[in-house]
Symmetry: C2
Subunit: 422 residues, 2 copies
């Protein structure tokens, strides 16, 4: 077919019911009895979601390939070139997460591939679904896309989940082979573009009344495990002034993180998990472990924030006679996205009459993995209701989802056909 913009967009509009149905189908895979969807990295539930998407891709005439760690690629057949354009996202969720995070990008990309399978493309179009984007299970994010871009340190395979299962063993239990990491690396020089479509997961687009965002940069997290050691003691027999209460020091840490980050514009800091191993209603806590996540688009500001947090909290912990230790468990670097791709995405929004906002991404995404190795990378967001994500209450309007998909379709077509693009 010739690419008739109006015709193609009409086809996509007809695919709206497909998008809705596939989102609902995926939401049933890992539905959590306590609410939301729990589909952790390298879990049975994640496997089922991959199986589902693979079947849909095959039914759309795409060629399914799995790499040795379970990333899924669905290729348009019959490409005249080895040059690639990859569009995709992930399928795993946080515990009790939402049904739009990751899935929107994979599902819309599939519909776009189906439509473009009727077009003459100059480059090979590949739909990608990456494993383990969320860090909930192994405290490591972007697992699949880091491997696909040759960036996963093999030591990371030793990381354990809360039950002591190692990442490498989880990969094996899904039927894959963590010893073949190298074979999972994509031919990076041949990738002309990586595009990812994702829900915003924040409140900015809603505040501006915009359905779609074109992402300019991706903030990235640095993460720490912080341990507090005081003295276990009897909660009745120990006077307040003789206590070494590790939870009091940890609580002060939580409030300090909030106070420091609240007065900085571009950095956010979160204590998302805190545990008292052996905690009991009748004991003064002697040990507390918590996890800190600090993000920003500007690396030096992020570093200044982290330094300030630890300087201040160490002094405070000492004032409670509690010792504090911290260990960096993950560090990702913020990335500016490709100006050339940003221009393509803006043009695609204009052509399809989609209102958009240029904005940074506070959340990290698989796009970060591609941008870091120099692949021209771009992202589109669609509005998240109330800015809520990683929650059963996560929601994006179907009309907003389709608006972003229209821009993604046109941008993908341009990137796979434009002769002047290199």
């Amino acid at each position: 077919m010739n690419f008739n913009l109006e015709e193609v967009l009409a086809t996509l509009t007809k695919a709206k019911s497909n998008v809705k149905r596939r989102l609902e189908d995926l939401a049933r895979i890992g539905r959590d009895p306590k609410g939301g969807v729990t589909r952790l990295a390298y879990s049975q539930e994640e496997n089922f979601a991959f199986d589902y998407i693979k079947r849909v891709g095959i039914s759309y005439g795409l060629i399914a390939k799995e790499d040795p760690v379970g990333n899924l690629y669905l290729e348009l057949p019959g490409s005249p070139s080895e040059d690639l354009v990859i569009i995709g996202s992930h399928l795993d969720t946080v515990p009790q997460g939402g049904m739009f995070d990751g899935t929107v990008g994979v599902i819309c990309s599939l519909e776009i591939a189906k439509i473009l399978s009727q077009a003459k493309l100059k480059r090979k179009l590949v739909i990608a679904a990456f494993r383990g984007e969320e860090s909930s299970r192994f405290k490591i994010s972007l697992i699949g896309s880091s491997i696909a871009t040759g960036q996963l340190n093999p030591n990371m395979l030793e990381a354990k989940d809360s039950k002591g299962v190692k990442l490498k063993d989880a990969i094996r239990s899904c039927g894959f082979d963590p010893d073949r990491l190298r074979e999972a690396v994509l031919p990076l020089k041949k990738i002309r573009a990586y595009l990812e479509y994702h829900i915003e997961q924040g409140p900015v687009l809603e505040a501006y009344g915009c359905p779609v965002g074109v992402v300019t940069a991706i903030a990235a997290p640095v993460r720490y495990k912080v341990s507090f050691s005081g003295e276990w003691a009897h909660s009745g027999a120990t006077p307040m002034n003789l206590r070494k209460d590790a939870l009091v020091a940890a609580a002060d840490f939580v409030l300090t993180v909030r106070a420091i980050c609240a007065r900085r514009g571009d950095v956010v800091g979160t204590v998302g998990d805190l545990q008292i191993p052996g905690g009991s209603i009748n004991k003064v806590p002697g040990e507390v472990v918590l996890y800190l996540d600090v993000r920003g688009v500007d690396l030096s500001e992020r570093e200044r924030t982290v330094q300030e947090i630890f300087e201040l909290t160490r002094k405070k912990a000492e004032s409670y006679s509690v010792s504090m230790n911290f260990m960096k468990i993950e560090e990702k670097f913020p990335q500016k996205l490709s100006n050339q791709i940003i221009k393509f995405l803006e043009r695609a929004c204009d052509l399809t009459n989609v209102e958009y906002l240029l904005m940074p991404s506070g959340a990290s995404h698989d796009a970060l993995s591609f941008s870091k190795v120099g692949v021209p990378t771009g992202m589109l967001f669609c509005q998240s209701k109330g800015g809520i994500s990683h929650s059963p209450r996560e929601f994006s309007q179907l009309d907003h989802i389709l608006a972003g998909a229209r821009a993604l379709l046109v941008a993908t077509y341009m990137l796979t056909t434009a002769s002047h693009y290199s």
Copy 2:
């Protein structure tokens, strides 16, 4: 035998190695690979500890009786009277607790019974070991002694542990019958005295350089489950000022409890457990649950403290857009102990040249159950090193343990023989 004080005390001194060995034997039952002893209420480990003490008692010529909920009574045979003097304590521990808490009282009482089995007593001497004194498992303390004194509300049997096991089912799984609570109630009017010997679990005796304390009153806890509800959100994409972070509100609660209690002399307040169900390093916490324990010897001061805590923390939670709910899960009332028994214990210390301190107990004990129903009740403490308890580092010197045992022996003899005591 006639009661020759010096002879009897010499016999007890010879029993020192018994005391040491039995403490070590019990410390092996439920030894926790992570350190300390974990012997929870109505666990297999608690059962084994009871079996051990029962065998020792029988080998000492005592008559073993178990009530329908597993409390163990070891009676001196051949008593001429139905009037009872009970001495004892408990055998369960907190998770990773110490090897002296509870066990010191039961083990020393057994040695005393063995010695007094040679004496002519006017009243029946019974050694008691109560079930489930610690609240760690079911968030209810003094389970066995509350039942034995007819004070356990049958609704309490529905309380669940962290795995969802109900107290009544745990009792059943140990081979006992929670439907026969009434048969477990002791003939309270016949109990002439209840004496309990226990480690201090606090730092006061060490600070005063005293091996032994004679307890004047028992502080008692009121306990609350406190829930914070905010909004789960993505830790990267949610600006600080738009968060409803339940952990921030909970952290402020922890610090507020400390600040309020630190400026009150006689009240202590502890958050001993805190959980973020579904917490994850990449989520702003939307739900937090914590447990508050407030204790004092003066009821009205304790109540004022609790009121102040909740008034202040509710306002603070609102300032974080987090709602706070609290539920009273347990309330015990502080008790002054029997003046008459205190006099006996002081006299016993004097006769045996044991230095003692008159002091309140910050911790609650099975003695509280007896005092509440009007049984003349007394307690002795021995020094805890560093005031540390409910910890693998809990320690009491054998010499201090024996000092208290001497006083207990003499007081028990006086209470079981004195004709003028009624």
